[in-house]
């Protein structure tokens, strides 16, 4: 089965999660010759060698000023061209903000199936099926893709292995694509304050709730996060109170996250908050209330004051790491 992977870059750096899409494509396809990657950006040809290790024989690139920043119509034109050139059965990307914006547009363009945010994907004799969390992870659906020659799927970050296979040739083919004019202009991309991984892709998250009491108090979480290389998140109560910006909110009306370690400080564990983080591999909770619902899904818990526990934990981990 031929699989085309849309690999994602920002500022000429390949997204780490793209390794997961490439490695999964290689598994589904069966051989490197059936895997191609598309990379789009200002000048991205230099990323080819990195892609090579993940088992793709072909790398398509689309570059130029118009492609420097993400613009869904230009990127869709690039992906359309790559699909027409490679004729895959499956187009794979990560379920990142970019992947989730771009792929459905192409699925509609090609009248193809679209399965989003999969945590499992299978190819059984050419029939593609997958598992998708729904209702913010309160249940999982088994999906099957049917009735089309081409399908699209995006994978939830941090679920699939991103191991290198080392057997790709990664021959670079530059595609010539005209940008779309007059329909959608990217005015600017404002960079966020943090250099940290986005919550949806982070492998360690430290989140704070209403108990933090102020925006300033979040600094103890930031310090803790820095020692762990973690991204900081927040409950809605903390966001609504103005302690943290909305893009840090985890939960049903915030982000759905899936880290290896989720640390919840002063968060009670409402059903809406848990909906966004319950699939985390390991959950640690710190709360003064031993009855707090968060302890029901925590692997490890400490009943105690977060203003004492978090700094103590920061200190302990700093000591261990020397």
């Amino acid at each position: 089965m031929k699989v085309l992977v849309f690999v994602e870059q920002r500022e000429n750096k390949l997204k780490k999660s793209s390794h997961e899409a490439l490695a999964t494509a290689r598994k589904l396809a069966g051989s490197a010759s059936d895997v191609a990657a598309l990379v789009v950006g200002g000048s991205v040809e230099g990323l080819t060698s990195e892609i090579k290790g993940y088992g793709a024989d072909t790398v398509y690139s689309v570059s130029g000023n118009a492609f420097h920043h993400y613009n869904v119509l230009n990127y869709a034109a690039a992906l359309e061209q790559a699909i027409k050139t490679f004729a895959p059965k499956l187009v794979l990307a990560m379920a990142t903000p970019m992947g989730r914006d771009l792929l459905p547009r192409l699925a509609a363009r090609f009248d193809a199936g679209m399965a989003t945010d999969l945590v499992d994907i299978k190819n059984e004799n050419g029939t593609i099926s997958g598992t998708k969390p729904m209702y913010s992870g309160k249940c999982f659906a088994q999906l099957q893709l049917q009735n089309a020659e081409l399908h699209f799927a995006s994978l939830r970050p941090n679920v699939f292995k991103g191991d290198s296979t080392g057997d790709g040739n990664a021959q670079l083919t530059k595609l010539d694509v005209s940008p779309v004019t007059g329909k959608l202009e990217t005015v600017e991309i404002r960079k966020g304050k943090s250099e940290k991984a986005d919550l949806t892709e982070a492998s360690v998250i430290v989140s704070g709730g209403r108990a933090l009491g102020s925006a300033d108090a979040f600094s103890i979480l930031h310090e803790f996060a820095d020692t762990l290389g973690a991204t900081v998140g927040a409950s809605r109560a903390a966001v609504d109170a103005g302690f943290a910006p909305h893009d840090m909110q985890v939960g049903q009306t915030g982000k759905t996250v899936n880290p290896n370690l989720y640390f919840a400080a002063g968060i009670s564990g409402s059903i809406q908050h848990m909906a966004g983080m319950r699939t985390s591999k390991v959950i640690v909770a710190v709360n003064t209330d031993p009855e707090a619902p968060i302890f029901k899904i925590a692997n490890y818990g400490i009943v105690g004051d977060l203003f004492k526990v978090v700094p103590a934990m920061t200190k302990k981990i700093k000591e261990l790491r020397g």
């Binding site: 920002r10 869904v72 459905p104 989003t116 959608l184 059903i271």
Partner: protein
């Protein structure tokens, strides 16, 4: 100016999901249904645009069963002018592309200057409709929008991307916008408003009224849900209490390193 807002009926966020029929369906009997939370931001934005421009028409539409009517009326009570229910009778298990095709046909019939949807429905968690609908119409879309401004026939929208990145776009109307939570603060539809809203114009259409063939749509459904399952149960964790902070911290850090191997 004419604005068309699409809302979806979704279970309340408090809902415990129960599977039924040998895990082939989700039990809906005891479920309380609401307007998909993101769609309330879409409705509010439409009403604010109308208030600012002094004279737009806001149509509140949805594709679903007859129970969606009361949710559309809630949108009318917030300030919408006309309701539009596209009945899903006879079309089972539509996937999002099928729904996008139906909504696109409704858009063509209504011919609005702007379509507003929620960024994501909290039941399927797909985020499909904004990009799919815009593609089918040949329009631009911006999804996950935190800020929208409209001047004449042009609009500027700010989209929330990952890691705090904000993408700013300029585009001519018509276009499809997907609302995020930070777009505005939706107003509350009070009871007297709901009584009055029941008297506002309300159209009910069948899929065939939109010039679409139900059997043909059904035959092209590409994403089939075969079954559902509950998420794997988590086994009870270890909770430490009543000891000194440093002691408890040392224990948990040791477990994170040696048992869970995550730090």
């Amino acid at each position: 100016m004419k604005i068309l807002v699409f809302l979806k009926k979704t279970p309340d966020t408090e809902t415990k999901i129960q599977l039924s029929n040998n895990n082939s369906a989700i039990e809906s009997g005891d479920v309380k249904f609401i307007i998909n939370p993101y769609d309330e931001y879409a409705i509010e934005e439409a009403i604010q645009i109308k208030e600012r421009s002094g004279g737009a028409e806001v149509v509140i539409g949805s594709y679903g069963d007859d129970s969606v009517r009361e949710l559309i009326i809630k949108g009318l009570a917030m300030g919408g002018d006309r309701g539009l229910l596209i009945s899903n009778q006879g079309l089972a298990d539509a996937d999002s592309l099928t729904i996008a095709k139906i909504l696109a046909a409704a858009v063509k019939a209504e011919n609005p200057d702007l379509v507003l949807v929620g960024k994501q429905a909290i039941d399927d968690d797909n985020m499909h409709i904004a990009p799919m609908l815009a593609e089918l119409l040949g329009w631009a879309h911006v999804n996950v929008v935190n800020k929208l401004s409209i001047e004449g026939g042009n609009a500027t929208a700010e989209r929330e991307a990952e890691g705090g990145y904000v993408e700013v776009y300029k585009f001519p109307l018509p276009a499809v916008i997907g609302a995020n939570k930070t777009l505005n603060n939706p107003r509350y539809a009070a009871l007297p408003g709901i009584m009055k809203a029941k008297k506002k114009p309300f159209d009910v259409k069948k899929i065939s009224d939109l010039g679409l063939d139900q059997a043909q749509l059904q035959g092209k459904v590409k994403v089939a849900i075969k079954s559902y399952q509950y998420p794997p149960e988590k086994k009870a964790g270890q909770v430490f209490k009543g000891e000194g902070v440093d002691e408890m911290v040392a224990k948990v850090v040791k477990l994170l390193r040696e048992e869970a191997k995550v730090i």
